[in-house]
């Protein structure tokens, strides 16, 4: 055993890990204590929740959301936040991938004794991911597998972003809590800098988006990230030492090589200097966008009322493409088609897509 003693209890117990934020050795007990306390301090300082609110915890069965559900449940009881917590899962309909992770979420539901709601892409959009992959592949026989996975990943990403909001709206919750951790945020900051996406860069460091202080997204359900300052390393070790039940696999349809490269870069930085991650977040938070900078106007989609920078949102465009048998429609240059869709909507009473999708939306609730 190493002779290193815990920096917090000063030698009562041997250290089990090095905390990346401070490089201090901690024993398991002091680590649990510090990890939970820091998240509590973030919640209080940033006023993430109000008493009486219903919070949907976005649950994928992965490490981050499992730790988030566990810690929120624990802190809600320990500090009497007065919150009603529910687990909200999205089933994309990917055989073999979601099946196993949904089983994990169902076990989490039992373990944490929280209500679980599962919404499927099929219910929300009329198409499951497996069906989308088939449609994309069928129309493009010459496509390599990897290419159709790439397109499928575009669908999956766009649909997922809306799915939580649509689900949360349907369930009338006050907020969504997601498991984004410090590594994720640092990654997103760098990505938005490299892409020159000033609007996202400004928003991605906020711990809470879509609340009263954010005029741009007033129409959506607020989202918050209680694990914003928690390192991925600590989340994994917390889950491991607490023997939390989580599921890990790579998504087949994950298209984002760009993000992947940045992720690798962040991990390389972390090895050289572990505080880099928190330093990037702090730098990102200090950025102020010039008043004169041109920002995209946020509006709502004419079809589904979801926030969008265009008159017709990306999800509606993709659904239109699928239903018309041209799945690549929403990918690449889309402006012309969006205009045509708007025209159709104006002169035709059959606005078949998102409107009736809303009606069809049914909720499988399991208590």
């Amino acid at each position: 055993m190493p002779s290193v003693i815990c920096a917090a209890c000063r030698g009562e117990r041997p250290a089990a890990l090095v905390r990346p934020k401070t490089s201090e050795p901690y024993c398991k007990i002091c680590f649990f204590d510090a990890f939970e306390r820091e998240i509590h301090e973030t919640i209080v300082k940033e006023q993430l929740f109000k008493p009486g609110e219903t919070i949907a915890v976005a649950a994928s069965g992965g490490k981050d959301s499992t730790v988030l559900a566990h810690v929120l449940k624990l802190l809600n009881e320990r500090h009497s936040y007065g919150l009603k917590l529910v687990l909200l899962s999205i089933d994309e309909g990917i055989t073999g991938y979601r099946d196993d992770s949904l089983e994990t979420v169902k076990r989490n539901q039992q373990q944490y004794d929280l209500p679980l709601i599962i919404l499927t892409y099929k219910e929300l959009y009329g198409w499951s991911m497996d069906e989308i992959v088939k449609a994309v592949g069928r129309k493009n026989n010459s496509f390599e597998n990897a290419t159709s996975y790439f397109f499928a990943g575009t669908f999956c990403g766009v649909f997922r972003r809306q799915a939580l909001d649509r689900g949360a709206m349907k369930l009338a919750v006050n907020k969504i809590a997601t498991g984004h951790n410090a590594d994720d945020i640092a990654e997103t900051i760098l990505m938005n800098i490299l892409r020159g996406d000033i609007a996202r860069l400004k928003r991605c460091t906020s711990i809470i988006t879509g609340d009263e202080s954010d005029d741009n997204e007033a129409s959506t359900i607020p989202r918050c990230k209680p694990l914003k300052y928690a390192y991925e390393k600590e989340i994994v070790l917390y889950a491991f030492y607490k023997r939390l039940d989580y599921f890990s696999t790579e998504c087949l349809y994950s298209p984002n090589a760009y993000r992947g490269n940045i992720r690798t870069y962040i991990k390389d930085l972390e090895r050289l200097r572990p505080s880099s991650i928190i330093d990037i977040i702090h730098s990102g938070e200090q950025l102020i966008v010039k008043q004169t900078a041109k920002m995209p106007v946020q509006r709502v989609c004419e079809r589904c009322s979801y926030c969008s920078s265009m008159p017709i949102c990306k999800a509606c465009l993709l659904i239109e493409g699928l239903n018309k048998g041209v799945p690549k429609l929403g990918i690449g240059k889309t402006e012309r088609y969006r205009k045509e869709m708007q025209k159709q909507d104006q002169c035709c009473s059959d606005q078949s897509l998102c409107h009736c999708m809303k009606e069809k939306l049914t909720v499988k609730e399991k208590d």
Binding site: L17, I235, L237, Y241, T249, E270
Partner: protein
């Protein structure tokens, strides 16, 4: 020398989806370390895409190493001298959450 190796957090996908491996390392002139163990793993256990597990002479950044449940950063990292029946756990943090 007998050891148990464990791969988790998605790292097991590179080892035929098998999480637990009970191994016996051959006697060596010099003592076994994590560094030489990684070479042995690459040659004997790793099934696919070695670059996703090993980078240079170490594990790829983002993979945590625990020696008998303790962070390898508290030991000598790559230079830690293995003892019989040690349990070495490799957890990937790179997979979805």
């Amino acid at each position: 020398m007998h050891l148990t190796l464990e791969f988790a957090g998605g790292a097991e996908l590179l080892f035929g989806k098998q999480k637990n491996h009970s191994i016996d390392l051959p006697d060596n002139n010099s003592p076994w370390t994590i560094r030489t163990l990684l070479v042995w793993i690459r040659e004997n256990l790793l099934r696919e895409r070695p670059e996703l597990f090993i980078q240079g002479d170490s594990v790829r950044p983002g993979i945590l190493v625990l020696i008998n449940d303790t962070d390898w950063e508290l030991f000598d990292g790559l230079n830690y001298q293995l003892k019989a029946n040690d349990n070495i756990l490799f957890v990937s943090t790179l997979h979805g959450g």
